[in-house]
């Protein structure tokens, strides 16, 4: 599976080129084959242009949502398709999955989506070496299981939907993760710390905060080895890694879209950048304070049982951070992401053959270019030895690229069905899961066992589907923009979905990507990590479930 950095970059670039070429070719073909002069299409194109400038439609929709319930307004959302994120996020397509697919897709079309999520969850547990060698093929098989019938059934719509999700979700998602991973991999925390309870609490607290800035994977990669080094002398170390997974690899990532993939998907789907910062801060603080307090008590007890604490080293220089200039590149990435959510530039139409145009706004291109530039600058300006000391390799990003290519393909029908709300095949789910408490636990429990990014997107769309609203209404409903139509119910639901997806990714090793990574690094450092069920039964249920019940009682009842 080893692939050189060059090889990885080439693969990612090839993917982008293939998407672009496919888009242009199909666009030209479709232009020849179809008549675009219908009044309907003209209206849609007008809507797109208007929305990108801050449209009137959004205001109308805003009033429609006031009552907060779907019912009669259910079709207002559909009417707004192709409205290009009138919320200022501007992906040029908005809730574009809807009109042609919603309501029409049977539930079995989501089988590949369920299949790929279960493969990701069970593969590493049941057959780790087989999965390690063949996961790209398995991902591709699930993707093709949906894509081929879809392309045969309705080629124009299929191409539109696939291009939309790849160009507006997958590619930005991968580029952001690549950028954060590359840059954070250049920051090395060295020096000699003594693993005492106060030091460990400080390390976990720093990691928790860092996770929202450089992502949970980046923070875990940067800090897990310093934590291991500081506590190398201790016999009882398992709890350190468990709480590191709880806090740094999961809960800490809840304050920005950079922190955890689900939140970035939310951002790509219209949630303003800083919304989670303010909306989830109280939830995150409560969870972190309780988990850190439990950790401190446990670590203190176990520390007192240690019998072989080494003598203090008078030459120990404390903590030493190298590659700090990478912080500038991280700020660049953050700035690019914030910029893309604020600017409203025209877009590049890449496909017009379906019921809606696929338009990628210039701010998206600009953001991705800046992120790539930041990553390249980090690679160029950071000594290779720092990445080596972090155990840096491109493989985790390759994994994400391969697996999420499959996830994003197969999620198309699931999202369409959920967006249809009460008119879709999952009307029962939409009706059963409503209100913040249910959203928190439903999103959380599924995020515990399936990857939390697609789980978030699923419930995000379920919440929207329940309200009969398009994505263009997300920001106004959250109280942002000129056309703000603050919807208290939706805000509470989205807080619950976000918190559930991010927090409960910590419940199992398979809940979030860094969990398994941290477990493997710890095992190779000689720590006897618990089994899958050992982690669940001995650690996450006793520690986290009471904390999440407290969070529910305070915020979601």
């Amino acid at each position: 599976m080893a692939c050189s950095p060059f090889c990885t970059h080439v693969r990612i670039l090839l993917l982008l080129v293939v998407c672009g070429t496919l888009a242009c070719g199909l666009n030209a073909g479709a232009a020849r084959a179809q008549d675009h002069g219908t009044a309907q299409d003209t209206e849609q194109i007008h809507a797109t242009s208007a929305d990108q400038g801050g449209d009137a439609h959004a205001v109308e929709d805003a009033h429609a949502v006031d009552g907060a319930h779907a019912g009669d307004d259910a079709h207002a959302g559909d009417d707004a398709h192709g409205d290009g994120h009138g919320d200022g996020h501007g992906d040029g397509h908005g809730g574009g999955h809807g009109a042609s697919l919603t309501g029409g897709l049977p539930l079995w079309t989501a089988i590949p989506f369920v299949g790929i999520l279960l493969s990701i969850a069970l593969g590493p547990l049941i057959a780790p070496h087989f999965w390690h060698q063949h996961f790209p093929k398995i991902s591709a098989l699930w993707a093709l299981a949906f894509a081929v019938p879809f392309l045969i059934w309705n080629p124009a719509e299929a191409v539109q939907e696939i291009l939309h999700i790849y160009l507006l979700d997958y590619v930005p998602f991968i580029i952001l993760l690549w950028g954060l991973f590359t840059i954070s991999g250049g920051i090395y925390v060295g020096g000699s710390l003594r693993g005492k309870p106060v030091v460990n609490v400080a390390l976990l607290a720093i990691g928790t905060l860092l996770a929202s800035l450089i992502g949970t994977t980046g923070a875990a990669m940067v800090l897990v080895r310093p934590l291991l080094r500081a506590n190398d002398w201790r016999r009882n170390k398992v709890h350190l890694i468990i709480f590191f997974i709880f806090l740094v690899a999961n809960i800490g990532g809840s304050l920005t879209p950079l922190g955890d993939p689900p939140l970035f998907l939310g951002f790509l789907h219209g949630v303003p950048f800083f919304w989670v910062t303010t909306a989830l801060l109280p939830h995150m603080l409560v969870a972190v304070v309780f988990v850190l307090a439990i950790f401190f008590v446990l670590d203190t007890i176990l520390y007192r049982r240690e019998t072989n604490e080494p003598e203090a080293d008078p030459d120990a220089g404390g903590i030493k951070i190298e590659g700090l200039h990478n912080i500038l590149f991280l700020l660049g990435v953050m700035g690019a992401v914030i910029m893309s959510g604020s600017l409203k530039l025209p877009g590049v139409t890449v496909y017009t053959g379906g019921s809606h145009d696929v338009i990628v706004p210039w701010q998206n291109w600009l953001k991705d270019i800046i992120i790539i530039l930041m990553g390249v600058l980090s690679l160029r300006t950071t000594a290779k030895v720092l990445r080596e000391k972090n155990g840096f390799s491109w493989f985790p990003i390759q994994e994400v690229a391969y697996l999420f290519a499959g996830i994003f393909m197969t999620i198309i029908p699931a999202l369409a069905i959920l967006k249809a709300g009460s008119a879709g095949a999952l009307a029962g789910l939409t009706e059963a899961v409503h209100g913040p408490m249910r959203f928190f636990w439903a999103t959380g429990i599924l995020s515990s066992f399936l990857d939390n990014a697609p789980t978030y997107l699923t419930f995000f769309n379920s919440a929207l589907g329940g309200l009969g609203q398009p994505e263009s209404m997300v920001a106004p409903m959250l109280g942002y923009g000129e056309a703000a139509a603050r919807n208290v119910g939706f805000i509470a639901d989205l807080q619950a979905i976000s918190a559930g997806a991010v927090f409960m990714g910590a419940m199992t090793y398979i809940g979030n990507a860094p969990n398994f990574m941290v477990k493997a690094i710890a095992e190779e450092a000689g720590i006897p990590m618990p089994s899958f069920f050992g982690f669940l039964v001995k650690w996450s249920i006793p520690v986290l479930i009471p904390v999440f019940i407290i969070v529910t009682l305070i915020f979601f009842l």
Binding site: M1, P124, H129, W131, F392, P514, F516, A520, G526
Partner: protein, 198 residues
């Protein structure tokens, strides 16, 4: 490494006191100090010596509901306690319910490592067993997967995996000391020591 010499074997006895483990321990420590003799005492709740099922052992370990305490003592201490048994019960209320010779002891163990360094350390420990201890049923398997080298997030597989298990048997004192040594190797999981009494 100093050359191994075969120590003179001494007999060990299992004594079961009726009384709270903490009280028994305090009494025995006092008795030993008072007698001025070199004594060896192992407490089952401290050294993982199996008896009467897991629930009773757990109760003994955490001191809840425990009304018995199992100890292993050397022959000299055994004789002293036997001689003073009636007086001990009269003066302290600590009755002796069982007093029997330990013929041998055994312990199952297993380990799993994901780095050759730790496998080497464990194998060094096992290869350096005290002369009085014997290993049986030992299996050791190493798997290497060069493709799995490095860090993974979604397809975690280790490039080095080793597993081993076996049973070590011999005199109880040597086995208890070896089990204590194993505690310095967190990757070794040791079962409780089983006594062969009679």
């Amino acid at each position: 490494m100093a050359p191994k010499t075969k120590p003179a074997r001494s007999s060990f006895y299992e004594i079961v006191f009726r009384g709270k483990p903490k009280v028994v321990r305090a009494f025995l420590e006092g008795l030993i100090i008072g007698s001025g003799s070199e004594s060896t005492v192992f407490y089952s709740f401290l050294d993982g010596i199996e008896h009467d099922g897991k629930a009773a052992q757990l109760a003994e370990m955490i001191g809840i509901r425990a009304t018995e305490c199992h100890v292993i003592v050397d022959a000299g201490t055994s004789a002293l306690i036997k001689r003073l048994a009636k007086r001990i019960e009269h003066d302290t209320g600590l009755g002796i319910t069982k007093h029997r010779k330990v013929r041998s002891a055994s312990m199952d163990f297993e380990f799993e490592t994901f780095a050759s360094r730790y496998d080497d350390e464990i194998m060094a420990l096992l290869n350096d067993l005290p002369d009085s201890l014997r290993m049986r049923g030992f299996t050791h398997e190493i798997k290497r997967d060069p493709d799995a080298r490095g860090v993974e997030a979604y397809s975690v597989a280790h490039h080095f995996e080793s597993e081993g298990k076996g049973t070590i048997s011999g005199p109880v004192d040597a086995l208890v000391m070896f089990r204590r040594a194993c505690l310095d190797y967190p990757l070794i999981k040791t079962e409780d020591i089983e006594l062969n009494v009679g």
